[in-house]
Symmetry: C2
Amino acid sequence: METQRKTRIQMENEERILDAALEVFSAHGFRGATIDQIADHAGMSKPNLLYYFRRKQDMYEALIARLLDTWLEPLKELDAVGDPLPELQCYIRRKLEMARDFPRESRLFANEILQGAPRIKRLLESELKPLVDEKAEVLAGWMKDGKINTVDPRHLIFSIWSTTQHYADFDVQVQVILGPDLGAEGRFEDAARYLDKLFLDGLKP
Amino acid sequence: METQRKTRIQMENEERILDAALEVFSAHGFRGATIDQIADHAGMSKPNLLYYFRRKQDMYEALIARLLDTWLEPLKELDAVGDPLPELQCYIRRKLEMARDFPRESRLFANEILQGAPRIKRLLESELKPLVDEKAEVLAGWMKDGKINTVDPRHLIFSIWSTTQHYADFDVQVQVILGPDLGAEGRFEDAARYLDKLFLDGLKP
DNA sequence: CGAATTCTTGACTGTTTGATAAAACTCTAA
DNA sequence: TTAGAGTTTTATCAAACAGTCAAGAATTCG
C-alpha cells in the first residue's frame, strides 16, 4: 500500500479547515459547533469541507492529535538535572505563555475535559498519565533532596495547570474583573509576577 | 396584578426539571444539551416540560439565577475583621468543598464562561465584579498591615478559584492521573492539604 | 359531587444539521 | 494538448431538534 502523497491544494485546505475548526470548536465545544460555522470560517462550502474531512468528528480528532504534543511539550521539558526552583518557575512561565499565545487550544482541551473527555480519555491514559507519573518522580526526587518544599507532586502539577490555564479558559471573567484598561500584555505580566510569588513564597508575610 | 401562587405540583416539577437541566447542561453545555435529554432525566414528556419552561433558555436562566448566589457565598463570607491567614484558609477550604459537593454547578459555570459567557456576562458585571472589588480591598488592607504577603489581590482570588474548581471541572483528568484507587474523599483530603501548604508557604524549602 | 382549573400527552410543524450523490469544473503531468 | 486525477458546487436527504396545539386526564375547591 503506497503512502498517499498530498497535493498542494490538499495541504492548504486542510490547514485552513483545521484553523477554522479550532476557532469554532474551542468557542462552542464539539456538539455546539456546526459544520456550517466551520465552513464559513474556512471560506468554503460545506460539501467541499466534507470532501477533506468526511465527518465532523474527523476534524476534531485531527485537531486533538495535532495539539496534544504541543500542549504537553512544556512539561516534557521539565528537566531533572536542572536547578529545581528556576526549572519550576520556567515551567510555570511557559504554561502561562501558552495560555496567552494559544488560548483556543487551551479552551478546546478545557471543553473536552469538562464534558467528560469522551473522545480523548484513552489518549489521556496513554500519553498524559505516563508523562505526569515520570515528572512526579522528578519532583519527588527534588523534595527528597530538600530542594523544594515537600508536597504532593501531582497536586502541584494540577495547581500549575489550573492557575495558568485559567487566564485562557476564563478570559471573559478575568476581563470583567480586571477591566479592559490594562491590555492583554499587562494582564499577562501581572499574572506572571503573581504566580511567581505564590509558588515561591506563598501568602505568609 | 396579583402575584401568582404556585401549586404543589408546580413546585415539585420545576424542582425536578431544574435538577435534570443542571445534570444535562453541566455535562454538555447549553447548545450541546437537548430538551429531550432533560425531559428524559426529569422523567416527563417534552411537551410537559415545556409547559413549565416554555423555552430551553428559560431553564438555563432560571438555573443560573438560582446558582449564582450559592456560588458567590463563600467569597461574601470572607471577613475583614477576621484573622487574615485563617480567614483565607477557610475560604480556600470552602471553595474546595463546593467543588466536591457541587461539581455540576461548577461545570455549568465553567461551560458558560469558557464559551464567552454570552448569557451571563451582564450578571458578572453587576454581581461578581463589585463583590470582587470589595474583597480585593479587604485583601489589600491585610497586605498593607503586613498580615499577608503583598501580591495582586485579584490574581490571588483567581488562583483560589482556579485551583479549587479544577477538581470539579477537570475531574476526569484528575481521576486519570491520580488513579481510581483513592476515593473521591481521599483525593479531597490530599488536595486540601496541598492547597493549604501552597498558599501558606509556597514551594521554597 | 361537579365544575373550573391545572396538568399531561400524542401528533405535529418548521428548521437546523450532518452527511451524500453526481455533475461540473480545474489542475497537472505525460 | 489532453486524459485522468483532483476539486468544487448544486441539489438533496434523513435525522435531530426546538417548540406548538388541541384534546384528554387529573386535581382542586366550592
